[in-house]
Amino acid sequence: MIIPVRCFTCGNVIADRWEEYSNRVKGGEHPKEILDDLGISRYCCRRMFISHVDVIDDILKYYEATARKFHNV
C-alpha cells in the first residue's frame, strides 16, 4: 500500500528515505548504489525497499475517477 514506517525485522525507520529512493530508481540508477548511499546497510532493511510496490498511487486514481464521475452527474 504505502511504504512501511519501519523495517519489519530490525525496527529501523526506513520510510523517510523511500521518496529519494523511488525517485532515483525512476531516474535509472541502480538500487544497490542508492541504498549504499542512503546508509541502508542491513539486508532486512534493503529488502523493504527493493520489494515494495506503492499501490496507494493506483488506488488514489480510482478515488479521483469516482469523484469526477460524481461531480459530473
Binding site: I2, V5, G11, V13
Partner: protein, 270 residues
C-alpha cells in the same frame, strides 16, 4: 569493568565492554531493547478521515514514528497518580493534525503533526503517513506516552542491539608458512600477509567462522580461533528517540533500580 575502543557514528555506537560476565552483557542487551522507556503515540482520536487508509492503519503508522523523548519531565503512566484514562501533563504529550488536499494530491508527513509541547516532536519530519487525493481530508488528535519495548516494539529505543565475544586469533609462526590461502577464504578479510608473515588486521570484525582453519592446507593448522568470555563487543543503533549514550546509561540505571528494589524488599523481611 572497562570500556574501550568506542566508535560512535550518528545514531550508532560500537564499544568493547571488558571484565563482565555473559549474564551481565545479556542483561544489558535485553534491558536496552525491552525496558528503557521512550515516547510513542498510543491513542489516536480520529475526527475525520476520508483518506484511502482506514483509521487503524493510520493509528498504527502514527505509533511507529519515533518521538524525541524527555525522560526528565515525563513519567510512565503507571507511576503517575492522575488516574485519568488519557493521562495528564506529566504522563502524556498531545499532537493535533488537520490537513486537506485542495486541488492536488498531497503527501501527509510526520512533520505535519503539530505538537503541544515542542520538546516532544517526531525525530524525522519526512516520514510519509498517507497520500491524500484532491478533496480528501484528515483531522485527528494523537496522544503520546512513555512506554517500554516489552509492551510494544514502538517503544523500543534501539533497532540493532547486539553483543559478541571478543575473538582471539593466535598464529603459530613455527608451523605457518604464510601461504596466504586463509587470507583468500576469510569472509571478513581480517587476515593479511605482511612482510611474508600472516597477521591479523582487524580482530573485532572476526565472526568466529573458522573458515581460515577449515581451508588451511597444513595437516595441523597453525591458526587457533578462540574468544574471551570476559570481553564483549557491543553494537547498538538508536532510532533517534533517545541519544545512543543515554540508552546505555538508562539501561544501567534500570538494572540498578531493580537490584535496589529487591534489596529494600529483603531489608523489610529482617
Amino acid at each position: 569493568m572497562e570500556l574501550s575502543s568506542i566508535k560512535q557514528q550518528d545514531n550508532a555506537i560500537r564499544f568493547i565492554l571488558s571484565g563482565v560476565t555473559p549474564a551481565f552483557a545479556n542483561a544489558m542487551r535485553r534491558v536496552m531493547i525491552a525496558e528503557v522507556p521512550t515516547m510513542a503515540i498510543d491513542d489516536v482520536i480520529i475526527i475525520e478521515n476520508t483518506s484511502v487508509l482506514f483509521d487503524e492503519f493510520l493509528a498504527h503508522r502514527f505509533g511507529l514514528i519515533p518521538l524525541t523523548t524527555d525522560l526528565d519531565s515525563y513519567i510512565l503512566p503507571e507511576k503517575c497518580d492522575c488516574n485519568s484514562e488519557l493521562g495528564c501533563n506529566r504522563c502524556r504529550a498531545s499532537f493535533t493534525m488537520e490537513i486537506e488536499a485542495k486541488d492536488d494530491m498531497i503527501v501527509v508527513y510526520s512533520g505535519d503533526l503539530k505538537p503541544d509541547n515542542p520538546v516532544v516532536t517526531p525525530v524525522n519530519n519526512k516520514i510519509p503517513i498517507v497520500k491524500l487525493a484532491a478533496g480528501q481530508k484528515l483531522q485527528l488528535e494523537a496522544y503520546a506516552r512513555l512506554g517500554r519495548g516489552q509492551e510494544h516494539a514502538k517503544w523500543q529505543p534501539v533497532s540493532v542491539c547486539t553483543y559478541k565475544y571478543l575473538p582471539k586469533i593466535s598464529i603459530d609462526m613455527k608451523k605457518c608458512d604464510s601461504c596466504g590461502k586463509c587470507v583468500k577464504f576469510c569472509p571478513k578479510c581480517i587476515l593479511e600477509i605482511k612482510d611474508k608473515r600472516l597477521v591479523v588486521k582487524d580482530i573485532e570484525e572476526c565472526t568466529l567462522c573458522t573458515q581460515c582453519i577449515k581451508n588451511c592446507p597444513k595437516k595441523s593448522c597453525p591458526i587457533k580461533v578462540e574468544w574471551s568470555e570476559k570481553d564483549f563487543i557491543f553494537n547498538i543503533e538508536s532510532n533517534g528517540a533517545l541519544p545512543i549514550t543515554k540508552i546505555v546509561e538508562q539501561a544501567a540505571i534500570q538494572i540498578g533500580e531493580k537490584a535496589s528494589e529487591l534489596s529494600s524488599l529483603m531489608k523489610n523481611l529482617e
